[in-house]
Symmetry: C2
Subunit: 457 residues, 2 copies
């Protein structure tokens, strides 16, 4: 289940024209790798060694896509018809969710993860709740859908953190609906048993991690929260949770529990540095203080938050309070972490009518180092000795980036690059993408079209 198994050895030495190291752009950087990790990093190497692969452009640590629902990719373009309300979106999303089985899920996710690789993403956090058969029964292997995702990531040549998601209710004091039934294990204890089996299957994997998730305070009744939180704490797993994406969640939580969702999670010990709150759009000052003081990470998904009309979350305030910020493409309206990174700054500019909240280096840190930490890969996301040898090269000689000054390459990439500018992607020291071409998956667009066409046939 490791990426290395079926792949040729490839280059073990990489010569970067420019590389982003510890927040600065360095020239003529030689990176050597061994056993999937960075062995040496040397700046100012005047001549490219003959056996080194030449990475032309700016090489940055691999990008971490912290929040993904792979199957939402099938909805791209289909939820904007006529006036594309929130209900258009939800109806189509449930139609897709109702259709998938382990084979079609794996095929779709392989193509989606390959699209991510082409966009420079080397690790994905898949927020996974499509667990059981369409009517809610167990598959022969109750983790068949999780294995489909892990297999898809391996096939697409990227790392995955499988954030297995506890999803038990359709809302506060609300039953699951017909589609949601397949999301549920019945209770948190059964969820935990299943996830433990999944963890054991990947205990030795170098490219798959298993983490835990609470879908939201709506979908996990308050008496079922403690077992999920304890499960993650005892095993030191990442714990992710959708938080206050819409005002309606806050209103319902206040009505039911007389607390905000953040307060409720805090009171159950769910916050802390292993935890990532996804969206965190509508927060009170007390919520911001609770997230920041506990060093809970926040995952912003700005292109989804635009698409779903969530609003503009207080990313800068919660970061100032102490929370690392990370990025996710979530519903995959687009898959472009450069767009997500700049949107954190640009949407804050729209809200405040003021420039200059975030430096490009901070946004690139969110897309790399902070993102990997939130996914349980603390030794990835940096170009330093001992780190996982995952990196991404952005071409600076495209029509969009032409004219870049080397000294400002990070600013240019964050504020003007697009996913198609990604030239190479290296995972565990091997090329997953080389010269804009996926090395493991042929015809990614064709595979996407086939997988999506199968769902809506």
């Amino acid at each position: 289940m490791t990426i290395e198994e079926d792949r040729p050895p490839g280059a073990q030495s990489f010569y970067c024209d420019l590389a982003w190291i510890n927040g600065e752009v360095k020239s003529k950087v030689l990176i050597t790798t061994a056993a999937g990790r960075i062995a040496t990093v040397t700046c100012g190497v005047k001549q490219k060694p003959e056996d080194a692969a030449h990475l032309v452009g700016l090489t940055v640590p691999g990008l971490a896509n912290v929040h993904s629902h792979a199957f939402h990719r099938a909805l791209r373009g289909r939820t904007q018809v006529e006036h594309g309300t929130f209900w258009t979106w939800r109806e189509r999303m449930y139609a897709a969710a109702a259709h998938l089985d382990p084979d079609s899920y794996r095929a779709l996710a392989t193509a989606v993860f390959a699209e991510m690789a082409l966009a420079g993403i080397t690790a994905v956090g898949e927020f996974h709740y499509l667990h059981h058969s369409p009517k809610g029964g167990l598959y022969h292997d109750p983790n068949a859908m999780g294995h489909a995702l892990a297999g898809a990531a391996a096939a697409a040549g990227i790392r995955i953190t499988l954030l297995d998601t506890c999803y038990l209710a359709g809302g506060f004091d609300t039953e699951l609906n017909d589609v949601q039934r397949r999301f549920s294990d019945g209770d948190a204890a059964r969820w935990a048993d299943r996830v433990d089996a999944l963890r054991k299957a990947y205990a030795d994997s170098e490219t798959v991690r298993v983490g835990a998730a609470v879908h939201s305070v709506r979908a996990v009744p308050v008496d079922q929260l403690p077992p999920v939180i304890a499960f993650a704490a005892e095993r030191e797993l990442p714990l992710h949770v959708h938080l206050s994406e819409q005002r309606a969640e806050n209103d319902a939580c206040l009505a039911r529990h007389h607390k905000t969702p953040t307060q409720l999670l805090h009171d159950h010990g769910a916050l802390g540095p292993r935890t990532t709150a996804v969206h965190a759009t509508h927060l009170s000052q007390m919520d911001i203080d609770l997230l920041g003081s506990s060093a809970t990470a926040v995952c912003m998904c700005p292109t989804t938050e635009r698409d779903l009309a969530d609003g503009i979350g207080p990313a800068h305030a919660v970061h100032t309070a102490g929370s690392p910020i990370t990025l996710g493409s979530d519903s995959h309206a687009v898959i472009d972490l450069f767009e997500e990174a700049r949107a954190v700054e640009l949407d804050e500019r729209l809200r405040t009518e003021r420039r200059g909240h975030w430096r490009a280096a901070e946004l690139l840190h969110a897309a790399t180092d902070a993102g990997h930490a939130a996914l349980g890969w603390p030794t990835a996301g940096r170009l330093v000795v001992g780190a996982l040898a995952d990196f991404t090269t952005i071409a600076l000689d495209t029509v969009r980036l032409a004219g870049v000054q080397p000294a400002h390459a990070a600013e240019s990439v964050v504020f003007a690059a697009s996913a198609p500018d990604v030239r190479h992607v290296v995972v565990a020291g091997r090329f997953t993408v080389r010269d804009h071409r996926h090395e493991l998956v042929e015809d990614v667009p064709g595979k996407l079209a086939a997988a999506i066409g199968g769902i809506f046939k």
Copy 2:
């Protein structure tokens, strides 16, 4: 000065797998052209005629980029350094403005317009105020800088409306600063004389139009407004004006004239269907009524408005009131009219926390038909008999658009396409871009890098 002159005849017949015609996606559409115009449009043609060029993807009318300052392209990525305030941006913009002469301006604009062509743009409105020599003196030909832009557009194979801009003051009762001196003709009468000479030079051009612009109510003192407005009215020219982009302009105008900028323009007869208000970000209800009831067009530049922290303009309200909406890439933070189009809807979603303000067809209309009308090309922007033969084909088999349903191709393109998805661009019946390659300008990135490097050397 017409695009045809130096070009091979090329195909005169185009077979579109899908084409967007009168707001609907049609299949197997044969378009024939003659003398640069559309001669026939036939839907449902089962087999491609042998001599027809095959346009694989969705063919839409050529995109109109209604508001451009070509030289701002040199700033991309350079104004975000550290915390990138508004003043970082303005300082760098003026450094670029101070440098350019007719030769370097032409070289830069050729590369920028070629970048636009690669992004599917077939007509640009260049809001042009870099008229005179750096110290303010006249060039030997006082329109040398305008000719540089017209020549650049011809070299890049797109149409241009040269919006020659009256710029006389540094603000209300404020002198021009050192850089601004080259923008000014001294008074509106001398501006008009110069622009009349420019008009005569392009009277017979099929690809260059001359229009008029008031830089803003700040930069044209109130006693100089009537001659500019009369000049445009007598000649039935498009008249463009920067309007209420920042609150500071409104405040200064109210302090000086006890009127909003919109009221001031209205009181001088500047509003109406030939007029385009650019940005229109901060409007009162009365402003919205004045713009809408006069059918004044509004040009939204959302990626610039994000970049410069302008805020979110009331595009939908002013459209409902009666104003056509058009799109511009303005400062060229990016050049991607799909991003501009969807941003009109997405930023409105952020502001209102509600989906579904605009239909994709309305946004595509803004990018094509309405945009061309605002630039004085009323017979462009539609795939109908007699229209200018300008069109753009977006590949639907890229990784971003794979899985599109033909029936929803317009929604997919508006909400998920990126500039690199543009496969072909035809202007006046000839390919300007074919298979993602510019047919007239070799190595567009190299030319951009050389031109920009020359400015900041």
